[in-house]
Amino acid sequence: MDASLPAHMRPERSFQGFILALQRFWAEQGCVILQPYDMEMGAGTFHPATTLRALGPKPWNAAYVQPSRRPKDGRYGANPNRLQHYYQFQVIMKPSPPNLQELYLKSLAAIGIDSAMHDIRFVEDDWESPTLGAWGLGWECWCDGMEVSQFTYFQQVAGVECAPVAGELTYGLERLAMYVQGVDRVYDLNFNGRDGDAKVTYGDVFLQAEREYSKHNFEIADTAMLFEQFKMAESACRKYLEAGWKDGKREAHLMSLPAYDQCIKASHVFNLLDARGVISVTERQSYILRVRELAKACGEAWIHTEAGGAG
């Protein structure tokens, strides 16, 4: 931890200070610090900086915060730690450096978790994303019995083998900050690190949103519109992919990113429909499969682009 930080910026006092500490740490490791992707998505992994950049031979090191939407996890603001919107901090390093575990432990130290004092553990957790056609091996990282991060060596993404393999770290920011700040309710997190009247809590920022979105996600979201949107995103994705092949030959692709946006869109719309409870168990599987087909086609297009390593 950086001792020169003013009190309100210290990671154990301030949620934003906590995020900034992580950003600074990973910037020092050579990562580009990106801003959140401007679309609704279920996890930081969906960000093209992870999903697509994990593919192809070119080195890539990035870190960013990604607001993550899990419509089903909404609890109308009544649960102390379940949210339908929360922040993930995402790090991707390709190829995975040999000391990635050590870097991860240093990043914990940077946010005030001393591994001499806390019981840090790497507990088996194989990661799989059926919608992204992706899997990897790694761990949940535990701090005193609490899962604080996900650590994965990507083996396959969007149906494409990772060569070389990228290492991915995902920190659940609210949960970690609650631990470091010593609060039991997420809405009590000190957001800006100030005291008294100047203090802004996580609840001040997000409690109303949690209530409103829970009502929206579970009760009101227009399902007819969402079904339509799913179809539209799916067909737009296919259309852009088709149109993106240069000269109609499957050698170079010119539009993988806009196509992938539609895949992200379809995935989020599916999550909303799922939260509304209008997708039956058997249909559920087929929707997941449809999103995966889009993701795979986008991955295939990406590896035929410049950043994907073609040419």
């Binding site: 031979p57 102390p80 730690n81 190829p95 995975s96 450096p97 040999p98 575990q101 591994s115 001499a116 004092m117 806390h118 019981d119 840090i120 553990r121 790497f122 507990v123 088996e124 194989d126 990897g136 091996l137 790694g138 761990w139 701090c143 005193d144 019995g145 609490m146 060596y153 083996q155 990772c162 060569a163 070389p164 393999v165 290492g167 631990y179 039991d184 039956s280 168990v281 058997t282």
Partner: protein, 699 residues
């Protein structure tokens, strides 16, 4: 003789894979050594979260020399043959060859000595192959090298290899090899947090000791012992008792290199949650042990955690952290439990109309209706109250829709019982909510309460008949709906409760309840019966009993009373162990064989009663008389379901059968006498069919 030390140091190996990996490493290395002629004295393998280690002691320093002889051309053979021989054997001239005398001409013989190689060179060759082909259940690639084909796969990134070989008294040599850029050497690392520096080791003894000094306990059993002993002591010291859990102990010992056992607590208010739910919460999510009060046998508000470090504050922070994690977990569980209690089980049922049990078999609601009807039908046959059985079947699945079961599937059924009791259901009805799933496996308890038995049978039969009707039968190793387990469950429910039920009738009832009508509905009950026969055979085989007797009983036809089948098989098994049984079986087989041959010869059967007027010999008459008596006696015993008595009656056949074969020639010259004797033989067969078809019994 020299020893080998091998260590494969990696990132954290999943706990569940460690024991098998250590064993695989030991097996692969020692098998290979033996195959190379290097017979060792002993080997032991170890695993921690970050390393696999193997010590093999007493390996010969060199492979034995191999001497072989190779026969060459005849003396005076063409030069080309001689040159070929010299080239193949490495001899410089024929002077070095021996000559072997042979009547067909003398031959050159080359003596080839293949000197054994140094064991260390053999190791350098076999170890990298073993590492590259190691059978991890799941392995991965990593780092820059993973961009190229042929990169190493390991369970998690592999960082270092120790491979030393040498005598106790000397500085050992490093076995020189490298795998995917990792050079074997003498360096390992201590505990990740408490002693992370590099350690240089020579051989197993100093390796294990230096690791211990560096806060790593190499032997998993030693870690288990520490955790178990410390956990017992900690709980005992406070007047409590550890709830032992071998599976959890195995897992926890695979998560730490330096176990530090501590006790934490949670608010006593959470003890209002059923013990099983507390345990599931703490065990599944936190990998901690729960603690009970020996006075009440109930859980107390303590838990035992195993940390991987000795912290400077004595673990206060760690315990406090774990308590902070367990609290919201239990709070969730309590909330789920209390929420569940607010809704009556029957009020959950309408939701089952939206839940598909199986595409072709309709909704869960439809299935519950079917089980209710079937349970009501079975109830009087098993001595259960019809109303209670119907009620239990009505409620038994409702807990699937509760929050607690949603969170912890392993407490399904059990929660049904708690919720049923909480809403004032009859004790038998509540018990059936839990017990109707039983028996889950061969080791599981079979319910005895008639209400539980009725619902358990109805549930399993509906499943079996349903999947039979849509032709989703188990094949080979595939049994996705656990139908074999269901069938075995039915067998055990019937046999252990001594129930009289017709499988055919019950299957027909279950079939009638289905909304779909399969094309071969007629055949279904008998097909299913054959499946039960198979399961019974498998069960008997597993118990070490004779399974061929099942065929002998089923071959009688019309056997669908499982209890009677089991009893017959048991009685038959006992009988065949006796001297009378063995001899009678031999006699019957002999009769059957002769009949078989003659039937084939004459292209006819020898049914029908023999003619007493044609009996010429005393033995014939005696046998005919015995058959008549035994038939009557055995049938009477069978109709009283006294199979032991039926077998004793059978035993009386033995002396006349033996005497008959000794004195009587079946193939008499007189065709009429021959036919009559064959008919008599046929009578033996038919008499014994009162209990079983002996021809199906293997010798």
């Amino acid at each position: 003789m020299p020893d080998l030390l091998l260590e494969l140091f990696s990132e954290e190996i999943p706990a569940r894979m460690q024991a098998k990996a250590a064993e695989d490493l030991r097996r692969m290395v020692t098998d290979k050594l033996v195959a190379e002629g290097l017979v060792y004295e002993g080997a032991k393998a170890f695993a921690t979260p970050r390393r696999l280690a193997l010590t093999v002691h007493g390996i010969p320093a060199r492979q034995p020399d191999l001497k072989t002889e190779r026969r060459g051309p005849k003396i005076g053979a063409a030069d080309a043959a001689v040159q070929g021989f010299l080239k193949a054997t490495g001899l410089t001239s024929l002077d070095e060859a021996k000559i072997q005398r042979d009547p067909k001409g003398d031959f050159y013989i080359a003596l080839i000595e293949k000197p054994g190689r140094d064991a260390i060179d053999v190791l350098a060759e076999i170890l990298p192959v073993i590492i590259r082909t190691f059978p991890w259940p799941k392995s991965m690639r990593w780092g820059a090298r993973s961009g190229k084909p042929g990169s190493l796969s390991w369970v998690r990134p592999l960082h270092a290899i120790i491979a030393t070989f040498g005598l106790e008294t000397e500085e050992p040599d490093v076995v020189k090899f490298s795998v995917d850029g990792i050079e074997a050497g003498q360096t390992t690392y201590g505990h990740r947090f408490m002693a992370p520096s590099a350690i240089s080791v020579r051989r197993f003894e100093d390796y294990e000791a230096k690791l211990k000094a560096a806060k790593v306990i190499l032997d998993p059993q030693a870690r288990k012992d520490i955790i178990f002993a410390d956990a017992k002591e900690l709980t005992f010291a406070q007047g409590f008792e550890l709830v032992e859990d071998q599976v959890l102990l195995d897992e926890v010992s695979g998560l730490v290199e330096w176990p530090v056992v501590m006790m934490g607590s949670f608010e006593a208010e959470y003890l209002a949650i059923p013990d099983e739910v507390i345990r599931a919460t703490i065990r599944n999510n936190q990998k901690c042990f729960v603690v009970k009060d020996p006075k009440t046998g109930k859980l107390t508000n303590k838990f035992v955690l195993t940390a991987n470090i000795e912290a400077p504050d004595g673990g206060k922070t760690i315990v406090a952290g774990n308590e902070r994690v367990i609290r919201p977990r239990l709070s969730d569980a309590k909330f789920f439990y209390e929420t569940d209690l607010k809704t009556k089980l029957e009020d959950r049922l309408p939701k089952f109309e939206q839940i598909v049990f199986h595409e072709k078999l309709g909704t869960q609601a439809a299935r519950i209706k079917r089980i209710e009807c079937l349970a009501a039908e079975i109830a009087p046959l098993v001595g259960a109250d019809v109303a209670k059985a119907t009620r239990a079947a009505h409620l038994a699945k409702a807990d699937l829709l509760t929050e607690v079961v949603g969170e912890f599937p392993e407490v399904q059924g059990l929660m049904g019982k708690y919720y049923a009791l909480a809403q004032g259901e009859d004790a038998s009805v509540a018990a059936a909510c839990e017990e109707h799933y039983k028996p889950q496996g061969p080791a599981d308890r079979v319910p005895t309460d008639p209400v539980s038995v009725a619902v358990a049978l109805a549930d399993k039969l509906d499943t079996l008949v349903g999947f039979w009707a849509i032709d989703e039968k188990p094949t080979g190793s595939k049994d996705p709906y656990a139908l074999r387990r269901a069938a075995l469950g039915v067998i055990r429910l019937i046999a252990e409760n001594a129930l009289r039920l017709s499988i055919m009738k019950m299957a027909a009832s279950a079939l009638a309840g289905l909304s779909l009508k399969p094309a071969d509905a007629q055949k279904l009950p008998s097909d299913l019966l054959a499946f039960f026969a198979d399961r019974l055979k498998v069960q008997l085989r597993e118990q070490g009993a004779r399974h061929d007797l099942v065929d002998a009983v089923f071959a009688l036809g019309d056997q669908d009373d499982l209890l009677m089948i089991v009893r017959r098989v048991e009685a038959l098994g006992k009988f065949l162990e006796s001297e009378d049984g063995k001899n009678l079986l031999a006699g019957i087989k002999r009769a059957s064989n002769i009949l078989g041959i003659e039937e084939k010869k004459d292209k006819r059967t020898f049914d029908g009663a023999p003619d007493a007027a044609l009996y010429g010999l005393g033995e014939e008459k005696a046998l005919a008389k015995a058959i008549g008596e035994v038939k009557a006696e055995a049938s009477a015993a069978v109709s009283k379901e006294d199979f032991a008595a039926a077998m004793s009656a059978m035993a009386k056949l033995r002396p006349p059968v033996d005497a008959f074969f000794e004195k009587v020639r079946v193939n008499d010259e007189d065709a009429k006498v021959r036919e009559n004797r064959l008919k008599l033989l046929n009578e033996i067969r038919s008499a014994t069919r009162a209990v079983a078809d002996f021809s199906k019994i293997q010798d």
